[in-house]
């Protein structure tokens, strides 16, 4: 009994863990930003305004609707509380089909304090008068900081972009402690809005695999482990099936016995056993068949002729008018 609960618990726990680690808005990063834009990337109106690029590091589509962009996280703690008010200086990313970011994709928002220009234009603009020098992305619940990138102050006067050296690659532990791993963020050599920050030649997946696992032993071991895991999961499921079926059979048998008390008593006393296994049934069946089959010494001598009735018209049966295929 206990073992079945163990199996059920394992399966449920597995799915629960899967759901917890599901890819979501937590995979979004403020990948690149430009605070002083003189003659660089232009918005849909041809203006050169500051911009920030969001990168979806996940391998599935992430909906960023309802998340907030801001350069001032004041009120984060209060907004997260029950009934808390979201500060008006936060820009809420509006509902739009384009806000579904496909896997490993980029999306640009213009930091131009012109929200009426469209869904990609925020209600704040980082300039020399700004009190802070960072851009933050906050979860739709208003209490969770998804990413915060602090840019160097001189970026306000230099036409240069700043962001992750390796696309969205962040040290989770350091970020949780409010710090950054050195070299994680830097001034970028090239402007790469809507594309990867990694502009130097990158090792292909195959070459990387060849370098890191020259003889393929690592991959073979991982793969065999995954194959076994998948089939062991099915094994556990089938064990549960077996258990449930056995229980159901026992239950129905008990109900049957309760319905016929005399029979049940006899069975209890061991005088009669209801359960007859397959081979025994087959043996009894064969014996009966042989017995009755050998009793044909006298035939009934009655011949029955069945007249087949035609429920169709031969004229309607096109098949009958066709030439038959030759038979061997």
């Amino acid at each position: 009994m206990k073992s079945i609960y163990k199996y059920i618990f394992t399966v449920v726990a597995l799915f629960a863990v899967t759901a917890t680690f599901g890819q979501s808005v937590h995979d979004l990063r403020l990948n690149e930003m430009m605070i002083k834009n003189v003659d660089n990337y232009a918005d849909e109106y041809g203006r050169h305004v500051p911009w920030v690029e969001i990168f979806n590091t996940a391998y599935n589509t992430v909906n960023i609707t309802g998340c907030y962009l801001t350069d001032d996280t004041t009120g984060l703690a209060a907004a997260g509380k029950k009934g808390g008010i979201i500060p008006s200086h936060w820009y809420r990313i509006p509902t739009d089909q384009k806000m579904y970011m496909p896997q490993r994709s980029f999306l640009i928002f213009y930091l131009d304090n012109s929200p009426l220009y469209g869904p990609y234009h925020t209600n704040f603009s980082p300039d020399s008068s700004s009190r802070t020098h960072y851009i933050a992305l906050i979860n739709a619940n208003g209490k969770e900081l998804l990413d915060l990138v602090e840019y160097p102050l001189d970026l306000r006067d230099t036409c240069c972009s700043f962001g992750y050296v390796l696309d969205g690659q962040r040290d989770a532990k350091a970020f949780k402690n409010g710090t950054r791993k050195s070299g994680e963020l830097a001034l970028l050599n090239e402007f790469t809005p809507n594309s990867s920050n990694e502009t130097t030649a990158k090792e292909s997946k195959q070459d990387e695999l060849k370098r890191r696992d020259k003889y393929g032993i690592g991959m073979a071991l991982i793969s065999m482990a995954v194959v076994f895991t998948a089939l062991i999961m099915i094994y556990i499921m089938l064990k549960i099936f077996n258990y449930v079926t056995r229980r159901a059979t026992q239950k129905s048998k008990a109900q049957e016995q309760a319905a016929t008390p005399a029979k049940a008593m006899a069975s209890k006393a061991g005088e009669e056993d209801d359960t007859v296994d397959g081979p025994t049934c087959a043996a009894i069946g064969t014996a009966l068949h042989l017995h009755f089959g050998s009793m044909h010494d006298e035939e009934s001598e009655v011949i029955t002729i069945n007249m087949p009735s035609k429920h169709y018209s031969p004229w309607a049966q096109k098949e009958l008018t066709m030439k038959k295929n030759p038979r061997r």
Partner: protein
């Protein structure tokens, strides 16, 4: 007049097969004829070898390029039919049919047999490692390794994605070895088992309820596809086909999937894969290596299945013990591998019927090879 006649005839001859024939074409046509002969005379997997063999002949009729007749020429009829192989939609359709034909009862009634199906996949990764050592790239090695899964559609599916240039050789190799299962496996089984082990009688499988059969494909797709989503085309279709069969209310769909549909796709896949083995692409030293590695992976897969059962028996008692002669069935050549178990078992005890027991690891092998294919794709594609 004579000159004109002569020029016309020579021009016609230059367009004909005789004018373009090479030794490569002749060798390939002979290979095609051997396949057909094996299918018809020996009855080794005739449903596969006859279409593939004829496809090899069609694919190796010499012609001048640009006539839009070859399988690799855009606009050719054969090229359109080959599209299903290149884009990988024939193999999932075959898996739909396999699912609609497969009875998982043996597996459901004795769940531990599923682990044999997992162990037999070792052949795939042993061949992968060996192919890497022989200088193949990781993608090519992965495509070659899948031959050890003994699953034609999976081999085609994976090679079309990882190594399209090798697909012909891999597919022909996979189907050839599947056809030769009754020849390859018995010596390995005999070498790795003792006479006492071959006499082990297994407990008869219990009756499986309709509810269990219906729940099985649904639970399996959830468990396996969550773990290896890249195997979804194969696993999804396999379990969908099985649900059609077991639900009992979609008999027409199940009959179509397991009958006409799978027959049509088998014809198309067999013929076009055969056609893809044009001499220029096929007759290369790499093809010989693929055949050698394919045989090696098959041997390792069979051996690992048998050895795993022997190892597993160390932990089992009484009538729970498993006859190691069903270990070979962990490769997914359904139902040939299971039939080999039965035949071998009966050589030592005529009253020991291992077929039903061997079907458990055999269908587990189908699931295992599809999962392994998914892993290869997620690592290499």
């Amino acid at each position: 007049m004579f000159e004109f006649f002569k020029d016309g005839l020579l021009q016609f001859l230059s367009y004909s097969g005789f004018g373009n024939c090479t030794w490569g074409h002749i060798i390939m046509i002979c290979i095609g004829l051997v396949f057909i002969a094996l299918g018809i005379i020996k009855e080794y997997e005739p449903l596969l070898l006859v279409p593939i063999g004829f496809g090899i002949i069609i694919g190796n009729i010499p012609f001048t390029d640009g006539l839009q007749v070859g399988v690799y020429e855009n606009g050719a009829v054969l090229n359109y039919l080959y599209f299903g192989v290149v884009k990988g939609f024939y193999p999932p359709l075959i898996f739909l049919g396999i699912g609609a034909m497969t009875d998982f009862s043996a597996l459901i009634s004795n769940p531990k047999l599923i682990l044999i199906g997992a162990a037999a996949q070792f052949g795939i990764f042993a061949a992968y490692i060996t192919a890497l050592l022989l200088g193949f790239s990781p993608m090519e090695a992965g495509a070659i390794g899948i031959i050890g899964g003994a699953d034609g559609p999976t081999a085609i599916f994976i090679s079309s994605k990882l190594a399209p240039s090798m697909m012909g050789a891999i597919a022909v190799s996979a189907y050839s070895y599947m056809a030769l299962v009754p020849v390859i496996q018995p010596p390995i089984m005999r070498a790795l088992t003792t006479p006492q082990e071959r006499l082990i009688r297994m407990r008869p499988p219990r009756a499986v309820s309709h509810r269990e059969k219906v729940l099985f494909p649904m639970m399996c797709i959830l468990l396996t596809a969550f773990l290896v989503p890249t195997g979804l085309p194969l696993l999804g279709m396999l379990f969908f086909g099985n649900l059609l069969k077991e639900s009992g209310v979609t008999k027409r769909l199940a009959n179509t999937a397991s009958g006409p549909l799978v027959d049509i796709v088998t014809i198309l896949i067999g013929l076009t894969v055969g056609c893809s083995t044009q001499a220029t692409n096929f007759l290369r030293p790499a093809s010989v290596l693929i055949f050698v590695l394919g045989a090696f992976s098959f041997v390792i897969a069979t051996a690992s299945g048998v050895l795993f059962v022997k190892f597993f028996n160390l932990f089992l008692k009484g009538d729970n013990k498993i006859n190691p002669l069903i270990g070979n069935a962990g490769v997914s050549a359904v139902p040939d591998a299971a039939r080999v178990s039965l035949v071998e078992g009966q050589k030592y005890d005529r009253t020991n019927f291992l077929l039903m027991h061997a079907m458990g690891p055999n269908v587990a092998g189908v699931i295992g090879s599809a999962v392994a294919a998914g892993i290869l794709l997620s690592f290499l594609y």
